[in-house]
Symmetry: C2
Subunit: 212 residues, 2 copies
């Protein structure tokens, strides 16, 4: 148990910010000891870690964070749906287009999902996102073959990523792990692709001597 | 050969925008037929495609695009370095930190690069980017194991991605393919990871009946 000043020190979140989260209902109240004194515990430290992950890494607006915290606090909501609330909030909102190109790309995304046997909600935002990217690729004259990427994503997520999400522990911790993993490994993979591209370009074309 | 109005129509770039690119030197001049008439050809169509890729997909500022166009037009610049100019422009600029955590993460990135035998410039922006992500992960208490992601990126780029870049054709086309592939397949992979995450979550935790 600790006072609010210690909660601030141990979490690294400034005291006025901790108070703001309390007022906004993002952080649950401590145990009230007197009119101006309350005690906080590990659950508050965990919640502050989650808020920081959603805010600084997920770049989510406070309204979105509130929605996720509500899902975390609603113990009757199954963990799968709670994680989905967070994950959907991280996805860019893409509105379907009324065009033949869209219909065709959406059907291809459906085929891909069926082929892998993925169990995905009909209105999952990543479906529309992927459809939009396909439409864009085709419009730009690209061949747009998602298969090798689907294969890599399928392997990484099933073999590595989901085992890092602690489903059995506190609900805050599961959401935090999902958000941090999704965003930060996504960025890491992006940087890694660019590293390999540079190396392959040097390999295939020869690095000019002057570039050293 | 075509007039500027046809160039605009065939490229889908509005006439005032085409004229703006000419004034800014992003689009090379056509063959001057008279004081107010010039002829344009396929090289202008390719250049407009490249500008659109850099602007709309790469989200690069005009100053960055000018730098890339200069590299495309400088036929004495080797293709590897021209592609590097475009690729580095796509990378977020990350300034190294003076900290022990940074030094340690940078050494890990070096080890990874050595392990795979990647041929990468010492000041490649993706090195600093990856270092920053590692520091961030460690700071947040994550295990931060890049190996499975490095493995997947290595396989995708060497087996699939680089074969899509037409090294032997016009210089504009090579840069365009690199930029479109890097950005759009990056976004697609991100959406695919989220699709598989949802499916794995449903698989591991069970999809609640009410969610349909």
């Amino acid at each position: 148990m600790m006072r609010i000043s210690e909660l601030s020190a141990r979490s690294g979140v400034a005291l006025p910010t901790v108070k703001y989260y309390l007022r906004e209902g993002l952080l649950h109240p401590g145990e009230q000891l007197a009119a101006t004194r309350a005690d906080y515990d590990d659950s508050h430290l965990r919640r502050l870690r989650l808020i920081r992950a959603l805010l600084e890494v997920g770049k989510l607006p406070v309204a979105g964070i509130k929605q996720i915290i509500a899902a975390v606090e609603d113990e009757t909501m199954p963990v799968h749906r709670m994680l989905g609330t967070a994950q959907y909030a991280l996805s860019p909102a893409v509105a379907p287009e009324a065009s033949e190109a869209w219909e065709q790309a959406a059907a291809e995304v459906d085929d891909l999902v069926d082929e892998y046997g993925w169990d995905i909600h009909a209105r999952a935002p990543a479906r529309a996102e992927l459809t939009e990217i396909l439409v864009r690729m085709r419009h730009l004259g690209m061949k747009a073959d998602l298969r090798p990427y689907a294969e890599a994503a399928n392997r990484l997520v099933t073999e590595v990523e989901m085992s890092k999400v602690p489903f059995d522990g506190p609900r805050d911790a599961a959401v935090e792990a999902l958000v941090l993993g999704t965003v930060l490994y996504g960025r890491a993979f992006d940087a890694l692709r660019r590293l390999v591209q540079e190396s392959e370009s040097a390999h295939l074309l020869g690095r000019p001597a002057a570039q050293g």
